[in-house]
């Protein structure tokens, strides 16, 4: 079964977007890539944030870059030459962004061409979208089969996420699924933070992940070893759960809000799919 799927080789292209910057898009992309690879999937992660590359450093691969995405698009390198194999997983590759160019160096069509070339040989292609609603986002959106939207339970992040949701629907890539990142359980309990339920009510999108605030995420990015590789990390575990949900598994949500009603509600949401 597994082998059949592999030989058929028709990757799903998943774009990770957010609207607002700094909500944890790159962290999410890195951790989902690692998680999917650790679950035996063949994965490419693409950093589409031209000029502000970061996925390489979060994944601990910054000193292995020879060619980047713009080199591929402009014909200076073959696609394979720009793909950096992860230290730990043989079936996980990174295509880094160019650091010295800007997003205009790449067009949405370029992104489709690159991902089409990869589709046959991989199971998942994850694209780390730049923040914002401009060209860089268009580049990341164009080849997407589905879109994940990362937000924090915080007013400006949710507002910008809503904007992105509208654009994703307009591009007929919708409805997209939500990852709520950096949820502070204690604050939610005190009523001092939007709960995942609140965010669901406001955005009306299926939630595919709730990632609790976790200091280990910072040490993970410090050391370039994504947090999902840390068995003691709650956030790492939550990212692993998202990966399994992406693969179609029905994984119950970790009970972070201390409210069983919420848990049941999400389960119902996913039963419908």
């Amino acid at each position: 079964m597994e082998n059949e799927e592999r030989s058929r080789g028709d990757a799903r292209v998943i774009t990770v977007s957010s609207g607002k910057g700094g909500v944890g898009k790159t962290t999410a992309t890195a951790n989902l890539g690692i998680s999917l690879a650790s679950l035996g999937k063949r994965v490419v992660v693409i950093d589409a944030d031209i000029g502000l590359r970061n996925l390489d450093i979060i994944m601990g691969l910054e000193n292995r870059i020879v060619y980047d995405l713009v080199d591929v698009v402009e014909g200076r390198s073959k696609l394979r030459q720009a793909m950096i194999k992860h230290k730990k997983f043989d079936d996980l590759f990174l295509i880094p962004a160019a650091q010295t160019r800007d997003k205009m160096a790449i067009s949405p069509e370029d992104m489709v061409r690159v991902t089409d070339e990869l589709r046959e040989d991989f199971d998942y292609i994850l694209i780390d979208s730049p923040a914002g609603i401009e060209r860089g986002f268009r580049n990341a959106l164009e080849p997407a089969d589905e879109v994940l939207i990362v937000t924090n339970p915080e007013v400006s992040a949710v507002r910008d996420a809503d904007r992105i949701v509208g654009l994703i629907e307009a591009a007929e890539k919708g409805p997209g699924k939500l990852i709520i990142n950096r949820l502070k359980t204690e604050l939610v309990r005190k009523g001092e933070m939007l709960s995942s339920d609140d965010v669901y009510d406001i955005l009306g999108l299926a939630i595919i992940g709730i990632i609790p605030e976790d200091e280990m995420v910072l040490s993970a990015s410090n050391s370039g070893i994504p947090v999902t590789l840390n068995m003691n990390s709650q956030a790492g575990m939550a990212f692993g759960n998202v990966a399994r949900r992406i693969m179609g598994e029905d994984v119950p949500f970790m009970n972070l809000d201390g409210n069983p009603g919420i848990l049941r509600r999400f389960l119902r949401l996913f039963d419908g799919r």
Partner: protein
């Protein structure tokens, strides 16, 4: 019971609830690309038109934006009035931008 309610109520008063309400408000306007100040302008114009014909009870007017989801919005208006404008008033140019005179002048 009241104590429980007030405890519950106080809990709802946390900044999380405020955040939710504020978000609802801005998103209603974001989604229809009509900022609140333009919406107020529209309400004033609507009322000015109606006031040409009816004596509107301005203090009890309610015009609200209702949104079921991202794609479906509606305006719900309750505009109480106390009767017809006297005939001579109805012909007054109370809405200069809409009157025939100003159209000719512009």
């Amino acid at each position: 019971m009241d104590i429980i309610k007030s405890l519950f109520g106080r809990r709802k008063q946390g900044s999380g609830a405020t955040a939710k309400n504020r978000l609802r408000f801005v998103l209603q306007h974001d989604r229809i690309h009509l900022p609140p100040e333009r919406m107020e302008e529209m309400k004033r114009e609507i009322l000015a038109v109606i006031a040409k014909y009816l004596v509107v009870d301005q203090d009890r007017v309610e015009i609200d934006l209702e949104q079921r989801d991202r794609r479906q919005s509606k305006l719900v208006a309750e505009i109480p009035f106390s009767g017809q404008q006297p005939a001579h008033k109805a012909s007054d140019a109370r809405l200069p931008t809409l009157s025939a005179d100003s159209v000719d002048n512009s």
